[in-house]
Protein backbone atom coordinates (compact mmCIF):
# COMPACT_ATOMS: atom_id res chain seq x y z
CA UNK A 1 0.00 0.00 0.00
CA UNK A 2 1.33 3.46 -0.83
CA UNK A 3 2.05 5.81 2.07
CA UNK A 4 -0.14 8.79 2.87
CA UNK A 5 2.81 10.88 1.64
CA UNK A 6 2.44 9.39 -1.84
CA UNK A 7 -1.38 9.54 -1.75
CA UNK A 8 -1.47 13.27 -1.14
CA UNK A 9 1.11 14.03 -3.82
CA UNK A 10 4.62 13.71 -2.33
CA UNK A 11 7.15 16.52 -2.15
CA UNK A 12 5.10 19.24 -3.96
CA UNK A 13 2.17 18.69 -1.58
CA UNK A 14 4.54 18.99 1.37
CA UNK A 15 5.94 22.24 -0.05
CA UNK A 16 2.41 23.63 -0.21
CA UNK A 17 1.74 22.44 3.32
CA UNK A 18 4.87 24.00 4.86
CA UNK A 19 3.86 27.65 4.33
CA UNK A 20 0.30 27.03 5.54
CA UNK A 21 1.46 25.09 8.60
CA UNK A 22 4.23 27.56 9.48
CA UNK A 23 1.78 30.47 9.22
CA UNK A 24 -0.60 28.67 11.56
CA UNK A 25 1.97 27.88 14.24
CA UNK A 26 3.39 31.43 14.15
CA UNK A 27 -0.12 32.75 14.67
CA UNK A 28 -0.92 30.26 17.45
CA UNK A 29 -0.09 31.91 20.78
CA UNK A 30 0.11 28.54 22.51
CA UNK A 31 3.21 27.48 20.55
CA UNK A 32 4.46 30.40 18.44
CA UNK A 33 7.37 31.11 20.80
CA UNK A 34 8.95 27.75 19.98
CA UNK A 35 8.96 28.51 16.26
CA UNK A 36 9.85 32.19 16.22
CA UNK A 37 13.50 31.69 15.20
CA UNK A 38 15.63 34.44 13.66
CA UNK A 39 16.15 32.47 10.45
CA UNK A 40 12.71 31.75 8.99
CA UNK A 41 14.09 29.78 6.07
CA UNK A 42 15.93 27.41 8.37
CA UNK A 43 12.79 27.00 10.48
CA UNK A 44 10.71 26.27 7.38
CA UNK A 45 13.21 23.60 6.32
CA UNK A 46 12.77 21.86 9.68
CA UNK A 47 9.02 22.00 9.39
CA UNK A 48 9.25 20.47 5.97
CA UNK A 49 11.15 17.63 7.63
CA UNK A 50 8.43 17.39 10.27
CA UNK A 51 5.57 17.22 7.76
CA UNK A 52 7.39 14.73 5.52
CA UNK A 53 7.92 12.53 8.55
CA UNK A 54 4.34 12.91 9.76
CA UNK A 55 3.05 11.79 6.37
CA UNK A 56 5.33 8.77 6.22
CA UNK A 57 7.54 10.21 3.48
CA UNK A 58 11.23 9.50 3.02
CA UNK A 59 13.15 10.72 6.07
CA UNK A 60 16.20 9.78 8.08
CA UNK A 61 14.82 10.40 11.53
CA UNK A 62 14.35 7.90 14.37
CA UNK A 63 12.52 8.30 17.67
CA UNK A 64 15.94 8.83 19.25
CA UNK A 65 16.57 11.74 16.85
CA UNK A 66 13.21 13.26 17.84
CA UNK A 67 14.27 13.07 21.47
CA UNK A 68 17.52 14.89 20.68
CA UNK A 69 15.89 17.46 18.35
CA UNK A 70 13.36 18.59 20.96
CA UNK A 71 15.35 18.22 24.18
CA UNK A 72 16.19 21.94 24.29
CA UNK A 73 12.48 22.70 23.86
CA UNK A 74 11.50 20.38 26.72
CA UNK A 75 13.90 22.39 28.90
CA UNK A 76 11.88 25.44 27.88
CA UNK A 77 8.64 23.79 29.00
CA UNK A 78 7.45 21.76 25.99
CA UNK A 79 4.53 19.64 27.21
CA UNK A 80 1.53 17.54 26.14
CA UNK A 81 -0.61 20.58 25.44
CA UNK A 82 1.99 21.92 22.99
CA UNK A 83 2.20 18.54 21.35
CA UNK A 84 -1.58 18.48 20.90
CA UNK A 85 -1.51 22.00 19.45
CA UNK A 86 1.07 21.00 16.83
CA UNK A 87 -0.98 17.95 15.80
CA UNK A 88 -4.09 20.14 15.67
CA UNK A 89 -2.37 22.70 13.41
CA UNK A 90 -1.09 19.99 11.11
CA UNK A 91 -4.64 18.57 10.93
CA UNK A 92 -6.08 21.97 10.03
CA UNK A 93 -3.36 22.44 7.38
CA UNK A 94 -4.11 19.10 5.74
CA UNK A 95 -7.83 19.80 5.88
CA UNK A 96 -7.23 23.03 3.97
CA UNK A 97 -5.37 21.04 1.35
CA UNK A 98 -8.34 18.72 0.96
CA UNK A 99 -6.99 15.66 2.78
CA UNK A 100 -9.93 13.48 4.02
CA UNK A 101 -10.72 13.52 7.74
CA UNK A 102 -10.12 9.78 8.10
CA UNK A 103 -6.59 10.18 6.69
CA UNK A 104 -5.89 13.06 9.06
CA UNK A 105 -7.04 10.84 11.93
CA UNK A 106 -4.58 8.14 10.88
CA UNK A 107 -1.75 10.67 10.73
CA UNK A 108 -2.58 12.07 14.17
CA UNK A 109 -2.61 8.57 15.59
CA UNK A 110 0.78 7.68 14.17
CA UNK A 111 2.27 10.95 15.45
CA UNK A 112 0.98 9.98 18.90
CA UNK A 113 3.53 7.17 18.82
CA UNK A 114 6.31 9.77 18.94
CA UNK A 115 4.86 11.73 21.86
CA UNK A 116 7.11 10.25 24.53
CA UNK A 117 10.20 10.72 22.37
CA UNK A 118 9.41 14.35 21.51
CA UNK A 119 8.62 15.13 25.16
CA UNK A 120 11.75 13.23 26.30
CA UNK A 121 9.98 10.87 28.70
Amino acid sequence: MSSIYEQIGGAPAVDAAVDIFYRKVLADDRISDFFDGTDMDAQAAKQKAFITMALGGPNQYTGKDMRAAHKHLVKRGLSDSHFDAVVENLGATLQELGVPAATIGTIAESLGGLRNDVLDR
Partner: protein
Protein backbone atom coordinates in the same frame (compact mmCIF):
# COMPACT_ATOMS: atom_id res chain seq x y z
CA UNK B 1 34.43 16.19 20.72
CA UNK B 2 35.99 16.94 17.33
CA UNK B 3 39.64 17.59 16.52
CA UNK B 4 40.51 20.43 14.17
CA UNK B 5 43.70 20.51 12.17
CA UNK B 6 44.77 23.89 10.79
CA UNK B 7 48.13 25.26 9.65
CA UNK B 8 49.93 22.31 11.18
CA UNK B 9 48.29 22.84 14.59
CA UNK B 10 45.72 20.60 16.25
CA UNK B 11 42.83 21.92 18.33
CA UNK B 12 39.99 20.35 20.31
CA UNK B 13 36.60 21.88 19.43
CA UNK B 14 34.34 21.81 22.46
CA UNK B 15 30.82 20.45 22.08
CA UNK B 16 28.69 22.91 20.15
CA UNK B 17 31.64 25.21 19.46
CA UNK B 18 32.07 26.61 15.94
CA UNK B 19 35.31 26.36 13.98
CA UNK B 20 35.56 30.15 14.26
CA UNK B 21 35.21 30.12 18.07
CA UNK B 22 37.67 27.26 18.41
CA UNK B 23 40.33 28.95 16.25
CA UNK B 24 39.77 32.24 18.09
CA UNK B 25 40.52 30.48 21.38
CA UNK B 26 43.69 29.21 19.75
CA UNK B 27 44.53 32.73 18.57
CA UNK B 28 44.66 31.92 14.86
CA UNK B 29 41.16 32.65 13.55
CA UNK B 30 40.32 33.76 10.03
CA UNK B 31 38.69 37.18 9.46
CA UNK B 32 34.99 37.30 10.39
CA UNK B 33 32.17 39.81 10.56
CA UNK B 34 28.51 38.92 11.23
CA UNK B 35 29.21 35.60 12.99
CA UNK B 36 25.75 34.36 12.05
CA UNK B 37 26.13 32.71 8.66
CA UNK B 38 24.95 35.73 6.67
CA UNK B 39 28.00 37.54 5.34
CA UNK B 40 30.50 34.88 4.20
CA UNK B 41 33.48 36.81 5.62
CA UNK B 42 34.81 33.77 7.48
CA UNK B 43 35.07 31.52 4.42
CA UNK B 44 37.43 28.56 4.91
CA UNK B 45 38.13 25.31 3.14
CA UNK B 46 37.82 21.76 4.46
CA UNK B 47 40.59 19.56 3.10
CA UNK B 48 39.55 16.37 4.88
CA UNK B 49 36.57 15.20 6.95
CA UNK B 50 32.86 15.85 6.46
CA UNK B 51 31.03 19.12 7.00
CA UNK B 52 27.65 19.53 8.72
CA UNK B 53 25.13 20.88 6.13
CA UNK B 54 24.65 24.16 8.03
CA UNK B 55 28.34 24.99 7.43
CA UNK B 56 27.71 25.51 3.70
CA UNK B 57 24.30 27.16 3.82
CA UNK B 58 23.96 29.97 1.28
CA UNK B 59 27.20 29.15 -0.57
CA UNK B 60 27.11 28.72 -4.33
CA UNK B 61 27.27 25.15 -5.59
CA UNK B 62 30.74 25.51 -7.08
CA UNK B 63 32.06 26.62 -3.69
CA UNK B 64 30.33 23.79 -1.85
CA UNK B 65 31.88 21.28 -4.23
CA UNK B 66 35.34 22.67 -3.38
CA UNK B 67 34.74 22.11 0.33
CA UNK B 68 34.45 25.80 1.11
CA UNK B 69 32.44 26.54 4.26
CA UNK B 70 31.66 29.24 6.82
CA UNK B 71 33.73 28.94 9.99
CA UNK B 72 31.04 30.66 12.12
CA UNK B 73 28.30 28.23 11.03
CA UNK B 74 30.37 25.06 11.21
CA UNK B 75 29.97 23.12 14.46
CA UNK B 76 31.95 19.99 13.62
CA UNK B 77 30.75 16.63 14.90
CA UNK B 78 33.78 14.74 13.64
CA UNK B 79 37.47 15.46 13.04
CA UNK B 80 38.08 18.05 10.38
CA UNK B 81 41.16 19.33 8.55
CA UNK B 82 40.73 22.95 7.46
CA UNK B 83 42.73 25.54 5.52
CA UNK B 84 42.43 29.18 4.53
CA UNK B 85 40.16 29.76 1.55
CA UNK B 86 42.47 30.02 -1.45
CA UNK B 87 42.68 33.78 -1.96
CA UNK B 88 44.15 33.79 -5.44
CA UNK B 89 41.46 31.69 -7.05
CA UNK B 90 38.48 33.17 -5.21
CA UNK B 91 39.32 36.86 -5.15
CA UNK B 92 39.42 39.63 -7.70
CA UNK B 93 41.73 42.63 -7.35
CA UNK B 94 40.02 46.02 -7.48
CA UNK B 95 40.90 49.65 -6.86
CA UNK B 96 38.91 52.43 -5.28
CA UNK B 97 38.20 54.80 -8.15
CA UNK B 98 35.59 57.15 -6.77
CA UNK B 99 34.15 58.53 -3.60
CA UNK B 100 31.10 60.76 -3.39
CA UNK B 101 29.39 62.01 -0.26
CA UNK B 102 25.67 61.20 -0.55
CA UNK B 103 24.67 62.44 2.92
CA UNK B 104 26.19 63.08 6.34
CA UNK B 105 26.11 59.33 6.91
CA UNK B 106 26.51 57.70 3.52
CA UNK B 107 29.34 57.70 0.97
CA UNK B 108 29.19 56.22 -2.52
CA UNK B 109 32.30 54.19 -3.29
CA UNK B 110 33.18 53.18 -6.83
CA UNK B 111 35.48 50.28 -7.56
CA UNK B 112 37.09 49.09 -10.76
CA UNK B 113 38.07 45.44 -11.03
CA UNK B 114 41.18 44.26 -12.83
CA UNK B 115 39.40 41.29 -14.38
CA UNK B 116 35.70 40.70 -15.20
CA UNK B 117 33.50 40.29 -12.13
CA UNK B 118 30.18 38.58 -12.72
CA UNK B 119 27.28 39.48 -10.46
CA UNK B 120 23.59 40.31 -10.34
CA UNK B 121 22.52 43.78 -9.20
CA UNK B 122 21.61 43.60 -5.50
CA UNK B 123 24.02 40.84 -4.53
CA UNK B 124 26.75 41.60 -2.02
CA UNK B 125 30.55 41.27 -2.18
CA UNK B 126 33.13 40.72 0.52
CA UNK B 127 35.48 43.69 0.55
CA UNK B 128 38.90 42.69 1.89
CA UNK B 129 41.47 45.26 3.03
CA UNK B 130 44.82 43.87 1.90
CA UNK B 131 46.93 45.27 4.77
CA UNK B 132 45.20 43.24 7.51
CA UNK B 133 42.62 41.12 5.63
CA UNK B 134 39.76 42.91 7.43
CA UNK B 135 36.68 41.59 5.60
CA UNK B 136 33.18 43.10 5.41
CA UNK B 137 30.19 42.55 3.11
CA UNK B 138 28.73 45.42 1.05
CA UNK B 139 25.82 45.29 -1.36
CA UNK B 140 26.11 46.26 -5.01
CA UNK B 141 24.02 49.21 -6.20
CA UNK B 142 25.45 49.08 -9.74
CA UNK B 143 24.38 47.02 -12.75
CA UNK B 144 26.82 44.56 -14.35
CA UNK B 145 26.50 46.53 -17.59
CA UNK B 146 28.11 49.55 -15.90
CA UNK B 147 31.89 49.90 -15.99
CA UNK B 148 32.39 50.23 -12.22
CA UNK B 149 31.02 48.64 -9.10
CA UNK B 150 29.09 50.94 -6.79
CA UNK B 151 28.68 50.58 -3.03
CA UNK B 152 26.81 52.77 -0.54
CA UNK B 153 28.73 52.73 2.72
CA UNK B 154 27.32 54.12 5.94
CA UNK B 155 29.85 55.64 8.31
CA UNK B 156 29.58 53.64 11.52
CA UNK B 157 30.99 55.40 14.62
CA UNK B 158 34.19 53.53 15.46
CA UNK B 159 33.67 51.30 12.44
CA UNK B 160 36.90 49.93 11.05
CA UNK B 161 36.03 49.19 7.41
CA UNK B 162 33.39 51.87 6.96
CA UNK B 163 35.65 54.65 8.27
CA UNK B 164 38.50 53.42 6.09
CA UNK B 165 36.35 53.30 2.96
CA UNK B 166 34.53 56.58 3.64
CA UNK B 167 37.37 58.75 4.91
CA UNK B 168 40.82 57.18 4.91
CA UNK B 169 41.65 55.04 1.89
CA UNK B 170 43.02 57.19 -0.95
CA UNK B 171 41.61 57.00 -4.47
CA UNK B 172 43.61 54.35 -6.30
CA UNK B 173 43.93 52.18 -3.17
CA UNK B 174 43.75 48.45 -3.92
CA UNK B 175 41.21 46.14 -2.29
CA UNK B 176 40.40 42.49 -2.84
CA UNK B 177 36.83 41.38 -3.62
CA UNK B 178 35.28 37.97 -3.09
CA UNK B 179 31.84 36.84 -4.16
CA UNK B 180 29.28 37.84 -5.22
CA UNK B 181 26.80 36.22 -2.86
CA UNK B 182 23.20 36.37 -1.77
CA UNK B 183 19.74 35.87 -3.18
CA UNK B 184 18.76 39.52 -3.44
CA UNK B 185 18.47 40.10 -7.19
CA UNK B 186 15.72 40.55 -9.77
CA UNK B 187 13.93 37.30 -10.45
CA UNK B 188 10.27 37.62 -11.27
CA UNK B 189 7.60 37.39 -13.89
CA UNK B 190 7.35 40.56 -15.99
CA UNK B 191 3.89 41.34 -14.66
CA UNK B 192 4.49 40.52 -10.99
CA UNK B 193 4.07 43.26 -8.41
CA UNK B 194 7.45 43.99 -6.77
CA UNK B 195 7.80 45.26 -3.23
CA UNK B 196 11.23 46.45 -2.07
CA UNK B 197 11.84 47.81 1.41
CA UNK B 198 15.05 48.84 3.10
CA UNK B 199 16.50 50.99 5.86
CA UNK B 200 19.56 53.20 5.50
CA UNK B 201 22.09 51.67 3.06
CA UNK B 202 19.68 48.77 2.60
CA UNK B 203 18.67 51.05 -0.25
CA UNK B 204 21.85 50.19 -2.22
CA UNK B 205 20.83 46.70 -3.36
CA UNK B 206 17.20 47.78 -3.80
CA UNK B 207 17.95 50.58 -6.30
CA UNK B 208 20.15 48.11 -8.18
CA UNK B 209 17.30 45.60 -8.33
CA UNK B 210 14.75 48.20 -9.45
CA UNK B 211 17.02 49.51 -12.22
CA UNK B 212 17.78 45.94 -13.30
CA UNK B 213 14.04 45.11 -13.38
CA UNK B 214 13.30 48.17 -15.53
CA UNK B 215 16.22 47.35 -17.85
CA UNK B 216 14.78 43.89 -18.33
CA UNK B 217 11.41 45.33 -19.27
CA UNK B 218 9.50 44.62 -16.07
CA UNK B 219 5.87 45.72 -16.54
CA UNK B 220 4.23 45.04 -13.15
CA UNK B 221 4.00 47.69 -10.42
CA UNK B 222 7.17 48.35 -8.42
CA UNK B 223 6.97 49.85 -4.94
CA UNK B 224 10.24 50.95 -3.33
CA UNK B 225 10.21 51.87 0.37
CA UNK B 226 13.14 53.58 2.05
CA UNK B 227 12.93 54.08 5.80
CA UNK B 228 15.09 55.45 8.57
CA UNK B 229 14.69 56.34 12.21
CA UNK B 230 15.39 60.02 11.43
CA UNK B 231 15.62 62.00 8.22
CA UNK B 232 19.44 62.06 8.52
CA UNK B 233 19.45 58.37 7.51
CA UNK B 234 17.70 59.00 4.20
CA UNK B 235 19.74 59.77 1.06
CA UNK B 236 19.69 59.55 -2.73
CA UNK B 237 16.51 61.67 -2.93
CA UNK B 238 17.23 62.97 -6.45
CA UNK B 239 17.85 59.55 -7.93
CA UNK B 240 14.76 58.15 -6.23
CA UNK B 241 12.70 61.01 -7.63
CA UNK B 242 14.01 60.19 -11.10
CA UNK B 243 13.15 56.50 -10.64
CA UNK B 244 9.66 57.50 -9.50
CA UNK B 245 9.00 59.29 -12.79
CA UNK B 246 8.81 55.86 -14.39
CA UNK B 247 5.09 55.02 -14.70
CA UNK B 248 5.45 51.63 -12.96
CA UNK B 249 7.49 52.86 -10.02
CA UNK B 250 6.29 54.29 -6.75
CA UNK B 251 8.82 55.45 -4.15
CA UNK B 252 7.87 55.96 -0.51
CA UNK B 253 10.29 57.48 1.98
CA UNK B 254 9.56 57.39 5.69
CA UNK B 255 10.98 58.24 9.08
CA UNK B 256 9.93 57.18 12.56
CA UNK B 257 10.59 60.43 14.40
CA UNK B 258 11.78 64.01 14.07
CA UNK B 259 11.25 66.48 11.22
CA UNK B 260 9.90 65.16 7.92
CA UNK B 261 11.36 66.80 4.80
CA UNK B 262 9.13 67.28 1.75
CA UNK B 263 7.90 64.02 0.32
CA UNK B 264 8.75 62.03 3.45
CA UNK B 265 6.05 60.47 5.64
CA UNK B 266 6.21 59.62 9.32
CA UNK B 267 5.28 55.99 9.74
CA UNK B 268 6.95 52.63 10.39
CA UNK B 269 8.04 50.76 7.26
CA UNK B 270 6.12 47.67 8.32
CA UNK B 271 2.85 49.55 8.69
CA UNK B 272 3.42 51.33 5.37
CA UNK B 273 4.20 48.18 3.42
CA UNK B 274 1.41 46.12 4.97
CA UNK B 275 -1.12 48.92 4.67
CA UNK B 276 -0.57 49.69 0.99
CA UNK B 277 -2.88 47.10 -0.50
CA UNK B 278 -0.20 45.11 -2.32
CA UNK B 279 -1.35 41.80 -3.77
CA UNK B 280 0.95 39.82 -1.49
CA UNK B 281 -0.05 36.40 -2.80
CA UNK B 282 1.21 37.40 -6.25
CA UNK B 283 4.11 39.73 -5.38
CA UNK B 284 7.83 39.26 -4.80
CA UNK B 285 9.62 41.13 -2.05
CA UNK B 286 13.20 42.17 -1.26
CA UNK B 287 14.08 43.36 2.24
CA UNK B 288 17.49 44.80 3.16
CA UNK B 289 19.10 46.72 6.00
CA UNK B 290 18.62 46.77 9.78
CA UNK B 291 18.28 43.11 10.85
CA UNK B 292 15.41 43.69 13.32
CA UNK B 293 13.31 45.47 10.71
CA UNK B 294 14.15 42.99 7.95
CA UNK B 295 13.11 40.08 10.14
CA UNK B 296 9.96 41.79 11.40
CA UNK B 297 8.84 42.68 7.87
CA UNK B 298 9.61 39.22 6.56
CA UNK B 299 7.48 37.67 9.28
CA UNK B 300 4.63 40.12 8.75
CA UNK B 301 4.62 39.68 4.97
CA UNK B 302 4.63 35.93 5.41
CA UNK B 303 1.77 35.99 7.93
CA UNK B 304 -0.14 38.27 5.55
CA UNK B 305 -0.06 35.55 2.90
CA UNK B 306 3.20 35.95 1.01
CA UNK B 307 4.96 32.65 0.21
CA UNK B 308 8.29 32.39 2.04
CA UNK B 309 10.05 31.60 -1.26
CA UNK B 310 8.84 34.92 -2.73
CA UNK B 311 10.74 36.93 -0.08
CA UNK B 312 14.47 37.59 -0.47
CA UNK B 313 16.25 39.36 2.35
CA UNK B 314 19.68 40.54 3.45
CA UNK B 315 19.77 41.53 7.10
CA UNK B 316 22.87 43.75 7.40
CA UNK B 317 24.22 42.01 10.49
CA UNK B 318 27.27 43.85 11.85
CA UNK B 319 30.17 42.43 13.82
CA UNK B 320 29.39 42.26 17.56
CA UNK B 321 31.13 44.79 19.79
CA UNK B 322 34.65 43.76 20.68
CA UNK B 323 35.03 41.18 17.93
Amino acid sequence: MARLTYRGGSFEAEDGESVLECLERAGCAPPSSCRSGQCQSCLMKATSGSLPPAAQQGLKDAWRAQGLFLACACRPTEDLEVADADGGALEVAATITGREVLSDEVVRIRLATGSPFEYRAGQFVSVIRPSDRLTRPYSLASLPSEPQLELHVRRVPGGRMSAWLCDEAPIGEPVQLRGPAGECFYLAGEEQPLVLAGTSTGLAPLVGIVRDALDRGHRGPIALYHGSVRASGLYLADELDTLATHPNVRVVRSVLEGPTPDGVVQEGLDALVLGSGHDLKAARAWLCGAPELVRLLKKKLFLAGMPLKAIASDPFVVAPAGA
